[in-house]
């Protein structure tokens, strides 16, 4: 009951936050010079003032700012994010087409980074001077300092050009025929390199943090109590210590959610992954304002939902946080 109450409170805050993001995005885009009419006229090879005015009237760009904002928010509430002249389809439809690919990439990269990062962290905390520990330190330094696009290109050269294990780009091979599992495997193989690339930065972060917290937890009194009960090493480490060490890692993972999404823009571009990142990149080049706004809105939505989930996960792991 308490859990439901706190959760619904958080959901309410999240909605308020989302509206704020919406207003801010719209205002910022409005401040930027140039509008859709300019871009359309450019793509037509120029237009006279009369035609420009006509286009502005068609898109409602001649209305005062507040009216435009009100219309936009009203649209968003009814899941109408406007129309993309560049792709010639409703923005909502366009984004929903691309969203699954991005979610797949982002979530699998987060999951990979978390699981592998925490495991590496735990292993190196158990033997702080062992080989794994030095490897983690090196990996953290490397993963954190290497730019994502560079790691991506390096992996591409290594594992799809020189050693041809993984496909070069895209998400599916359209020529492939077969049932569900054949396609699933195909997508999985396409996913590998972008996922590893995106995960590398966060893996570095998570492994460092979990190494540090784990070392602290392993020296704590309750770990000694667990040993004194006669539990096995693995029970002590993976049950008693790990559950305590997880909280900071989950908090960090939640905070990094937005960073993962902005990382996805670069990774998707390098690997031509047909997700929101590629779409964002293309629509910025094309100055497709409604699409950019739509993508910003969805990114905010994903980040906020991610934070909500983090919050719930934290309360699940640590009973002391429940009811707050």
């Amino acid at each position: 009951m308490q859990f439901l109450l706190t959760t619904s409170k958080r959901v309410f805050y999240a909605i308020v936050l989302l509206v704020a993001v919406l207003v801010l995005n719209f205002s910022l885009m409005h401040l930027a010079p140039g509008d859709v009419a300019d871009t359309i006229s450019q793509s037509m090879g120029g237009a006279d003032q009369e035609l420009l005015d006509q286009i502005r009237a068609d898109y409602g760009l001649d209305q005062p700012f507040v009216v435009q904002l009100g219309r936009y928010i009203g649209g968003v509430l009814t899941f109408d994010l406007g129309f993309s002249f560049f792709y010639n389809m409703p923005v909502t439809e366009l984004i929903l087409q691309r969203l699954p690919a991005t979610l797949l990439l982002v979530l699998s990269a987060q999951l990979l980074a978390l699981v592998v990062g925490v495991l590496l962290g735990v292993m190196s905390a158990r033997k702080p001077n062992g080989i794994t520990s030095h490897f983690v330190t090196f990996l953290a330094l490397f993963g954190y300092s290497a730019p994502v696009f560079w790691t991506g290109i390096l992996l591409l050269i290594g594992f799809s050009l020189n050693i041809q294990i993984f496909p070069v780009a895209g998400m599916q091979d359209v020529t492939i025929e077969g049932g569900f599992w054949v396609h699933a495997w195909d997508i999985f193989m396409h996913l590998m390199l972008p996922m590893i690339t995106l995960a590398s930065i966060f893996l570095a972060l998570y492994s460092r943090l979990s190494r540090a917290t784990m070392m602290e937890v392993l020296g704590s009194d309750y770990v000694r109590t667990a040993k004194a009960k006669g539990l096995s090493q693995n029970q002590v480490v993976y049950k008693h210590a790990l559950k305590n060490a997880l909280s900071p890692v989950i908090t960090l993972a939640g905070l990094q959610f937005s960073a993962v999404i902005s990382g996805a823009v670069l990774v998707e571009t390098v690997f031509s992954w047909p997700g929101l990142g590629t779409l964002a990149f293309q629509s910025i080049i094309a100055r497709d304002t409604p699409t950019i706004l739509g993508i910003l809105f969805f990114s905010a939505l994903v980040v906020i939902v991610g934070n909500l989930l983090t919050d719930m996960a934290l309360r699940l792991v640590d009973p002391r946080l429940r009811g707050r």
Partner: protein, 328 residues
């Protein structure tokens, strides 16, 4: 009768930055089933290290048993495999720690932590172990044990947590219970309750208890025998009554005179409370061939600095390691 626990010439070494230091130096003792032995001494004199050695839980790579034997039920624990030690820990020997606030895992319910100790050693189902955990909470006099078992440690008071720790330690009916300063972190009134509880539970279960403390008052009430430790070495060892009546080691005398009610038992007038001047020597001086208490001792002579004090026997079983024990 064969003693339950016999320690022979135990030496435990800690590796520190300054080199290897003997935190326990040539310790021998024996303890019968159902009896209570007390370890007394200031912080840093090796009491807790002895306890951890008995549990096979010396800090890895830093501490090790250098020589000597720990015979428990005829089995030398210093030679036991890690696997065998795990079987013994929490089952035949269990331990209560000093800090009830931090010794329980904050993210598991108290019932689960007790039930886990049962499941680790007995082939019981989850529900059976849980039921037994509730029974144990009842046995340590926690009201509404069924309701409290699902509580987390942060929902309990210090005294309740220590009771829960005791329940956990007694879960598998150990033959030996080591209580490492079980009341140091608690209120005085709660301290008395915990000692009463331990005494009652000992009568029921017949477990031997090693009580580590620096509270001579608790020793006088709880224990039959006492070992006074100083800087990793035994200062005095023997029956509590005999030692309180006539302490032969100046350090023991100092400790006893720190406790008001024992002192007033001994004499009619109320003497000023005395402190033991100075502090325990640092670890790097632990191995020296001299009396380590000499720097704080009013009875010091050149002999004390020239060599280790010999064991001197008094009465049936009182032993004091002091050059001048007869004169004191």
């Amino acid at each position: 009768m064969e003693p339950l626990l016999t320690v022979e010439n135990l030496r435990i070494e800690l590796t520190t930055r300054d080199g290897v230091a003997p935190v326990i130096d040539d310790l021998s003792l024996s303890l019968n089933a159902g009896e209570t032995l007390s370890f007394v001494g200031e912080s840093g004199c090796g009491k807790s290290m002895t306890a951890l050695a008995l549990m096979g839980l010396l800090p890895e790579k830093v501490g090790r048993v250098a020589s000597g034997k720990i015979l428990f039920d005829g089995e030398d624990l210093t030679q036991a495999t890690p696997r065998r030690l795990r079987e013994i820990r929490g089952n035949e020997i269990s331990m209560i720690f000093q800090e009830p606030m931090t010794s329980l895992n904050p993210v598991f319910s108290v019932g689960e932590q007790i039930a886990e100790a049962i499941r680790a050693h007995q082939n019981l189902s989850r529900t059976a172990a849980w039921d037994k955990a509730v029974e144990l909470l009842d046995a340590v006099r926690i009201p509404n044990p069924k309701g409290r078992a699902v509580d987390y440690p942060f929902q309990m008071s210090g005294g309740q947590r220590q009771r829960a720790m005791i329940a956990m330690a007694l879960a598998c009916e150990p033959k030996l219970l080591i209580a490492d300063e079980p009341t140091t972190a608690l209120d005085v009134t709660v301290q008395a309750q915990i000692f009463d509880l331990l005494t009652d539970l000992q009568k029921q279960s017949g477990a031997a208890i090693i009580l580590i403390t620096h509270d001579m008052g608790a020793v006088a009430e709880m224990a039959r025998d006492v070992i006074v430790m100083y800087a990793g070495r035994k200062a005095e060892y023997g029956p509590v009554d005999a030692i309180i009546e006539h302490p032969r080691h100046p350090y023991t005398q100092g400790l006893i005179s720190c406790v008001p009610h024992i002192v007033s038992d001994m004499s009619e007038e109320r003497p000023d409370l005395v402190e033991v001047p100075g502090i325990v020597p640092s670890l790097k001086d632990f191995g020296r061939d001299q009396c380590l208490f000499a720097s704080r001792c009013a009875h010091r002579t050149d002999e004390c600095l020239a060599g280790r004090p010999p064991e001197k026997h008094f009465g049936a079983s009182q032993i004091a390691d002091c050059w001048h024990a007869e004169a004191l």
